[in-house]
């Protein structure tokens, strides 16, 4: 993103009263957390690792949003349904031991170290998610090229509703387990317990972001950035815009599926199973995307981590006020953070301001 070189961020804070209020709130929260951290370092460390784990999940799904938005200018509201579908594919293959939608047994389950079988099953499930993304793009997004952006966004809302019916039907009677190899186990740093799931999601997020970073420097990635910049000009240069769209949607669906799998893991989701709430996680990712800026990859990472941090820390340190805040209040924290953040920076932390002409 092109930074304006004329003014430093600090000068911007002093200029705008809204930013000053926000800075004051953030500073107060930081001081409070610092006091808590000094007071009880291990509780804080445990919460911190948890927040990174959750933030990584948000960042993964947010990365899918951003990839699709950058290439096709579509805000994909169906990301939640795609995340749940991806997790369900894994559940079908591992817990049931069938290839999805068939009664053919899944040969990968029988591979001798069970974690290898699980891992290979996940890869197959991700491939299935990619194919689903391709089908969706070809059938619904491609005919809408050139239509108003809002129409396409609403179309993805329709997709979300459509896919959700089938997802909910799969978990209607009982929640579906993922049987992740590391389960609920973890390790201790002093008195702080860190689940392996958090480490796994952090590592996956890191790998995904590095991969996207290098992808944007590849031939296809440059084509994608060109399409994001100007579709017609890119087409005139001989770039196959349709293929760029397809790849973006496939990658977005895969990232959503990965996010869905990590969101379903035992400590992140209490039951460790796919259930109705799984798709709500993508709606909580929207704040992360918006806070970081819709078209910024680093924004997705930082937005995801901020939202995860705020959610977990609020859950950890404000639970004394649960009567006033209401049960389940941490799930609302992302939206509150998003609204406050947007009022101060209308295009997110790293987003490109829209240039408006008459």
């Amino acid at each position: 993103m092109a930074e304006s070189s004329s003014s430093s961020p600090l000068a911007g804070i002093v200029k705008s009263p809204g930013l000053m209020v926000l800075a004051a709130i953030v500073a107060a929260a930081a001081v409070f957390l610092l006091l808590q951290a000094v007071n009880d370092p291990f509780t804080f460390l445990q919460a911190l690792m948890k927040s990174f784990g959750l933030g990584a999940v948000y960042a993964l799904i947010a990365l899918g949003f951003v990839l699709i938005f950058k290439a096709t200018q579509v805000v994909n509201f169906a990301q939640g349904a795609l995340a749940m579908t991806g997790a369900l594919f894994v559940s079908f293959m591992v817990a049931d031991g069938h290839i999805p939608f068939t009664t053919i047994p899944n040969p990968l389950v029988n591979i001798s170290p069970s974690w290898l079988g699980w891992f290979l099953s996940v890869l197959v499930a991700l491939a299935a998610a990619a194919i689903l993304g391709l089908i969706i793009e070809r059938l619904t997004i491609r005919p809408m090229v050139g239509e108003p952006l809002f129409s396409v966004a609403v179309l993805t809302l329709g997709l979300e509703i459509f896919l959700r019916v089938f997802n909910n039907d799969a978990v209607k009677i009982q929640f579906r387990s993922l049987e992740v190899p590391w389960g609920v186990s973890g390790f201790n740093i002093g008195e702080a317990f860190v689940a392996w799931s958090y480490v796994a999601s952090m590592i996956t997020a890191a790998v995904a972001f590095v991969a996207v970073f290098f992808f944007y420097r590849s031939r296809m990635g440059i084509a994608m950035r060109a399409v994001a910049y100007d579709q017609e000009a890119a087409m005139a240069q001989g770039i196959n815009v349709g293929r760029v769209f397809a790849i973006a949607w496939a990658a977005g669906a895969v990232l959503a599926a990965i996010g869905g799998i990590f969101a379903t893991q035992p400590p992140v989701a209490q039951t460790g199973a796919v259930q109705f709430e799984t798709q709500l996680i993508a709606f909580r990712t929207l704040p992360a995307v918006i806070l970081g800026g819709l078209d910024s990859v680093q924004g997705a990472l930082i937005g995801g981590l901020i939202i995860g941090f705020a959610e977990i820390m609020a859950g950890q340190y404000a639970s004394g006020q649960i009567d006033i805040l209401g049960a389940g209040y941490p799930l609302i924290v992302p939206y509150v953070v998003m609204i406050i953040g947007l009022l101060v920076r209308p295009y997110g932390l790293f987003g490109t301001p829209e240039i408006r002409r008459v």
Partner: protein, 419 residues
């Protein structure tokens, strides 16, 4: 009185609600039919669709349809006319419902309620929602397009959560069961026996009216008032200003249309409609938990606007009828198809193909209500159809049902030279 269909000699003439006498006559007939529909009258009840809808089983869904229509008119004003895309319409409906419950509901230890009569709580619901809408409007000035949609989406989740808080429970009651809402009974003040009691049957003039019929008349009157207000607002100076902001906001401001002022107006009026609609919706349901005001309800309004045709009153009406009645029609049709199988009627091959009865049968629709796995039941199919309809209309007919109607009308207007 024959005239050339597209000839208007003045702006006033073009902007009339019903420009031609044919339209005026049709509208009058439609209103008369709507009012006489619930009764078993000799001539009117024989018209096929009217006989079907006027049936006592269908009065309640049709009443719901009119209530949703009020909210949809408000949403059309905001999203269709002013171009401010909000996914928070369900939130404003909820605000209206709980304002109504606060003003008109029965107060207990657990929940607030002042027990005021309907002529206070119904406008009060609108005003409560409008005030909240005016608080949101400055956000809309600052944010644009999809950013606004996502912030209002956040509002829906925050709104539902408020029902969980200790102070929110005072308004919304128990998070699982909800609270009871005021009924449509019309009183002058808090006296014991109301002027019009909605719960039992009584005799008005020559007609026997049941409780459902009374509710139907009440919401019909409110819906007609809302239609007139919405239509007049859309064709007035305010409506033109809102359209200017929708089409090009900077250009509108250059021409002297205050963006801030008119966005506040758009949000306030739209929320007022939503509030009234939400209050009546809750009142008709009797008891609702806060979770009812969810994203799905908001998307329902988006679907109504898109399927009907954004920015037009007629389209909104068509969209509401279509979106609310279609699922019920499909349910009715499934029942009818299963009867066809039992009777071995003419349509039984189609029914056999579509329905699944028992374990070995293959068909997309299952008759059992709770079925996991592939044959989805008819309720699930209805929701899936919803999503599918949004997609199909957006791809193939962006102007919605109104666009289809216009093209049909133009075909016959130009007939036999329709090319």
């Amino acid at each position: 009185m024959f005239r050339r269909p597209n000839l208007y000699t003045s702006y006033e003439a073009e902007n009339k609600i019903f420009p031609t006498w044919t339209q005026r006559g049709l509208a009058a007939i439609a209103i008369i039919i709507l009012f006489l529909m619930p009764f078993d009258l000799p001539v009117i009840s024989q018209i096929p669709v009217v006989r079907f809808l006027g049936d006592s089983n269908w009065l309640r869904p049709v009443s719901t349809m009119f209530i949703i229509l009020v909210g949809a008119l408000g949403f059309n004003l905001l999203a269709g006319v002013a171009g401010q895309v909000s996914l928070g319409h369900a939130f404003f409906m909820g605000v209206g419902a709980y304002s109504a419950a606060f003003l008109g509901g029965e107060g207990t230890d657990a929940v607030f309620g002042m027990g005021l009569p309907i002529w206070i709580w119904l406008p009060g619901a609108g005003i409560g929602a409008a005030l909240v809408g005016m608080l949101i409007a400055p956000v809309a000035v600052k944010l644009r397009g999809l950013y606004l949609a996502i912030v209002t989406l956040g509002l829906v989740f925050i709104g539902i959560h408020m029902g969980n808080t200790s102070w929110g429970k005072k308004f919304a009651g128990d998070p699982g069961l909800g609270r009871s809402f005021p009924t449509f009974d019309i009183r002058l003040w808090k006296e014991e026996d109301p002027l019009v009691l909605m719960d039992d049957d009584s005799k008005w003039l020559w007609f026997e009216v049941s409780d459902n019929q009374k509710t139907y008349f009440f919401v019909l009157v409110i819906a007609i008032i809302a239609l007139i207000v919405a239509k007049n607002l859309a064709r007035s100076r305010t409506g033109r200003a809102l359209q200017a902001i929708r089409d090009r906001d900077i250009a509108a401001e250059v021409m002297g249309v205050s963006e801030f002022k008119y966005k506040v107006i758009a949000f306030a009026v739209s929320s007022f409609f939503a509030g009234v609609s939400g209050a009546m919706f809750a009142s008709l349901a009797g008891k609702l938990p806060a979770i009812e005001w969810d994203l799905f309800l908001s998307v329902e309004f988006v679907a109504i606007i898109l399927i009907g045709g954004a920015g037009t009153i007629a389209g909104t009406v068509m969209g509401t009828v279509f979106v609310i009645l279609l699922p019920l029609m499909i349910e009715e049709m499934t029942i009818w198809l299963s009867e066809q199988i039992d009777e071995g009627g003419f349509f039984s091959p189609i029914a056999n193909f579509l329905l699944t009865e028992g374990a070995d049968d293959f068909g997309p629709i299952s008759i059992a209500t709770q079925t996991p796995g592939w044959p989805l039941n008819v309720f699930d199919w209805n929701i899936a159809l919803y999503g599918l309809l949004i997609i199909v209309f957006l791809i193939f007919e962006p102007l919605g049902l109104y666009g289809i109607w216009i093209s049909i009308r133009n075909y016959w207007k130009g007939w036999p030279f329709s090319y």
